[in-house]
């Protein structure tokens, strides 16, 4: 990347020359913006890797029998696809990349509370990524347990389970440290006058997420360590042959991994709450309701984990209680969706690229959320458990929710981060391709699952042929859309026209600093006198 100084009066964070030079100026930088950008690079690379695995899987499922890979390879493919997409892309995704970049700027600070710890988190992330990928090539072969590492199979298989678990442990540690850093930063470094209720909603979302990261992640940490120890020394804790209980593993696993779903989705909801006011030119409707619904989701999210285990063998009472709590999560989620829609009402909407991503998010996430109710219901869960219905549901929520907004955030903040603008027409075409491909790929999976197609199977019966073919074609359209989008951004990065300071007319603090921001963000720490979304035009109307 060659960046000239965009303005002689300041040096941007991209051009800043510190103690180190070359690649070390990045790898050893404690600047939150550089760290955010490094995360973003890593996340996009891992995303492309995960997407390629998905491509191979869909091509294998294009026709019956062995098309491209054998059954064992297919097991490894879906496991790695899950591990990479969940632990390396979606969980760090928005908080580590955009949170690092924009949290300090949006609260009017010069950096996070612990900049060196922040860099350490990034190194842990990279170490985790390297370990995860090395498990592919080392002796023993790639892990084939599915991303949930369920015992006792993960104790018995000879593949590189321990390495993959070590990777997950490192990534979890990285996530904890980022969360700890963000909580402290929000408490200690807000600009004068910025009370909690003057914080942008993205910060509220990051703050809630950070608490989940701190509270839930250690539980999976110890669970992972115990599986590794079990494999090495056979201590018996999870091994039924020695008296251990595999169901306890599932409980401990989901005590983290369900709240982790909210680690994934809350920051995306925060970004949506940023993009909507900017493009509706209207203050957000129900600011406090959205802020508190983030906390409510974070809180209720702890009490629903066993809905992943409805068919694992639990008492009916436990199943009814967990089902009830699962339905309760729909309330704060609904609060958010209705407030977003209410914000749009009578707004002067500019449907530009980031806004299109948000519209797509609301559509896809609503389908994902509503089918979640089908799965949260005990009776219908029995029918759809372990089928493609579940696969379709979590792709609608995780991909249609988090990753679509990861793309949306990228388009929203791209001019700010790089000081360059992308081609909006090409971006719009890619949005349309992604939307069509996505629904083709995953909506068919709902029908397949309802018809009884089990997940993780390498082959299928002839009656599923047509839908599998449609699904695979959807996948190709989706991948084409994503590649077009990445190409467009890459071109903009190289030689896009220079972006102005505030291309969208946003009013949060990041739009008051130059694009790209200077090293220390602000010449003078701003003093905050009003809420985050007060648009000049709207004031008169009020």
């Amino acid at each position: 990347m060659t960046h000239q100084a965009h303005d002689n009066s300041y040096v941007s964070y991209l051009d800043y020359k510190g103690k180190h030079s070359g690649i070390w100026a990045w790898l050893l930088s404690t600047d939150h913006k550089r760290i955010g950008l490094m995360y973003l690079t890593g996340i996009m690379l891992f995303f492309v890797a995960g997407m390629s695995l998905g491509f191979v899987m869909k091509t294998e499922m294009l026709s019956r029998g062995e098309t491209l890979v054998d059954a064992q390879t297919y097991n490894a493919l879906f496991t790695l696809h899950g591990v990479i997409m969940i632990f390396l892309v979606i969980i760090p995704g928005i908080p580590a990349a955009f949170g690092n970049f924009f949290l300090p700027i949006q609260i009017g600070a010069k950096d996070v509370s612990f900049p060196r710890l922040n860099l350490f988190s990034f190194w842990l992330y990279m170490a985790g990524g390297v370990v995860a990928l090395s498990s592919l090539f080392l002796q023993g072969g790639p892990i084939d347990t599915g991303w949930t590492f369920y015992v006792p199979y993960s104790l018995r298989t000879n593949t590189n389970v321990s390495l993959a678990l070590l990777a997950a442990f490192l990534l979890g540690f990285s996530s904890i440290l980022t969360g700890l850093n963000f909580i402290t930063t929000v408490h200690r470094l807000r600009a004068p006058g910025m009370g909690f209720f003057r914080m942008p909603l993205f910060i509220w979302a990051l703050y809630s997420t950070a608490w989940i990261q701190v509270i839930a992640t250690p539980v999976i940490g110890i669970t992972i360590v115990l599986v590794i120890v079990e494999r090495l020394f056979s201590i018996g804790i999870f091994d039924p042959a020695l008296g251990g209980d595999p169901i306890l593993f599932q409980h401990l696993f989901w005590i983290y991994s369900h709240p982790a779903v909210y680690i994934m989705i809350l920051p995306a909801m925060g970004v949506v709450s940023e993009i909507i006011p900017t493009f509706a030119k209207r203050t957000i409707f129900g600011y406090k309701a959205i802020a508190f619904s983030s906390l409510a989701i974070a809180f209720i999210g702890y009490f629903v984990w066993a809905h992943h285990m409805f068919t694992s063998g639990m008492s009916d009472l436990a199943r009814i209680i967990f089902s009830l709590f699962t339905f309760l999560v729909a309330i704060p989620s609904g609060v958010k969706v209705f407030n977003w829609v209410a914000t749009l009402y009578k707004g002067s909407i500019e449907p530009r690229v980031p806004f299109l991503f948000v519209m797509m998010f609301i559509f896809l996430f609503s389908i994902g959320g509503l089918t979640g109710l089908v799965l949260g219901n005990l009776a219908t869960n029995i029918h759809t458990h372990g089928t493609y219905f579940v696969v379709a549901h979590f792709h609608y929520v995780m991909f249609g929710g988090t990753v679509i907004i990861l793309f949306g955030a990228l388009h929203y903040w791209f001019p700010k981060m790089f000081g360059r603008m992308y081609n909006e027409k090409v971006a719009t075409v890619s949005v349309i391709l992604i939307f069509i491909g996505f629904n083709g790929l995953y909506f068919t999976m709902f029908i397949l699952g309802y018809m009884g197609m089990p997940r993780r199977y390498w082959d299928y019966l002839p009656e599923y042929q047509l839908l599998h073919t449609i699904s695979a074609i959807g996948a190709y359209i989706l991948i084409a859309g994503i590649l077009l989008m990445l190409h467009n951004l890459w071109k903009a990065l190289r030689k896009g026209p220079k972006a102005v300071q505030n291309p969208w007319g946003g009013v949060t603090l990041e739009w008051t600093v130059p694009s790209p921001p200077p090293l220390e963000n602000f010449d003078e720490i701003p003093i905050i006198t009003h809420g985050p979304y007060e648009f000049p035009e709207a004031k008169g109307v009020k």
């Binding site: 404690t30 600070a109 010069k110 950096d111 509370s113 612990f114 900049p115 060196r116 710890l117 904890i176 969360g179 700890l180 850093n181 909580i183 402290t184 408490h187 200690r188 470094l189 600009a191 004068p192 701190v214 509270i215 992640t217 250690p218 539980v219 940490g221 110890i222 669970t223 360590v225 115990l226 120890v229 020394f233 056979s234 201590i235 018996g236 804790i237 020695l242 008296g243 251990g244 209980d245 306890l248 401990l252 220390e520 003078e524 720490i525």
Partner: protein, 229 residues
């Protein structure tokens, strides 16, 4: 309000502390990384300790579930543990927490040598704990009680789980003690070189918090494994 109590605590030590408001610092300092925020550091440390408790929390939940499932076997297996060594180690760790706290008080009063002596004795206690642990585990191993041993596999499933938990929990705790020894050795050097001084001792305080947590976890491990029969 928290700030007030913090400043009180500092002025008790009769020295001047620099302004701790992070915002005024961020404005006056030319570089953001130089800024100092002792309350922020402590907040971060408490959050970290919180995650440590949850890390052990997973193990405590497993202990509870298995104790419920195999209460009789746990009762029998616990009799194989040496209460004397356990008690001795409890006393050692509690005393080390005292010397740790005193070393912070000493540096606040500007008594550098005393503080170093107290840190050194904390390290010595920690080492003594590990030596005892070594003999305790060594004796178990000599009797053929270790994970995967043929002697243990002949026993009841509940007893296998008991020793599985015993080795994992005290083992993880032991790792924390060793990390503590490294951390306190760094603190010793830091006080020696004057990097930790009466004006700036937040790292020593945070190390102390860590050490107390290690102590606290042992306070729960000791009765659960040694005393409840």
């Amino acid at each position: 309000m928290r700030e007030a109590t913090y400043n009180e605590q500092v002025t008790d030590g009769t020295m001047n502390i620099k302004e701790t408001n992070p915002i005024s610092h961020a404005v006056s300092e030319p570089h953001p990384h130089v800024h100092r925020d002792d309350i922020g550091s402590k907040l971060g440390m408490w959050l970290f300790l919180f995650t440590e408790i949850l890390l052990f929390g997973g193990l405590f939940i497993l202990y509870m579930a298995y104790r419920f499932q195999y209460s009789e076997a746990f009762h029998i297996a616990a009799r194989d543990l040496n209460v004397n060594i356990g008690t001795l180690n409890t006393i050692i760790l509690l005393t080390s927490s005292l010397t740790m706290a005193l070393s912070i008080a000493a540096i606040q009063k500007g008594k550098r040598i005393l503080s170093m002596t107290l840190i050194a004795s904390t390290i010595a206690f920690a080492a003594a704990f590990m030596v005892n642990k070594y003999f305790e585990w060594g004796a178990k191993f000599a009797h053929g009680i270790y994970p995967g041993s043929s002697h243990l596999l002949e026993k009841e499933k509940g007893e296998i789980i008991f020793f599985g938990l015993y080795y994992s929990m005290t083992g993880l705790h032991g790792i924390h003690v060793m990390v503590g020894i490294i951390l306190l050795s760094i603190m010793f050097v830091s006080v020696w070189r004057g990097k930790t001084n009466p004006d700036k001792f937040i790292i020593l305080e945070n190390s102390g918090l860590y050490w107390h947590l290690v102590d606290l976890i042992w306070i729960f491990l000791f009765p659960l494994f040694y005393l409840i029969h």
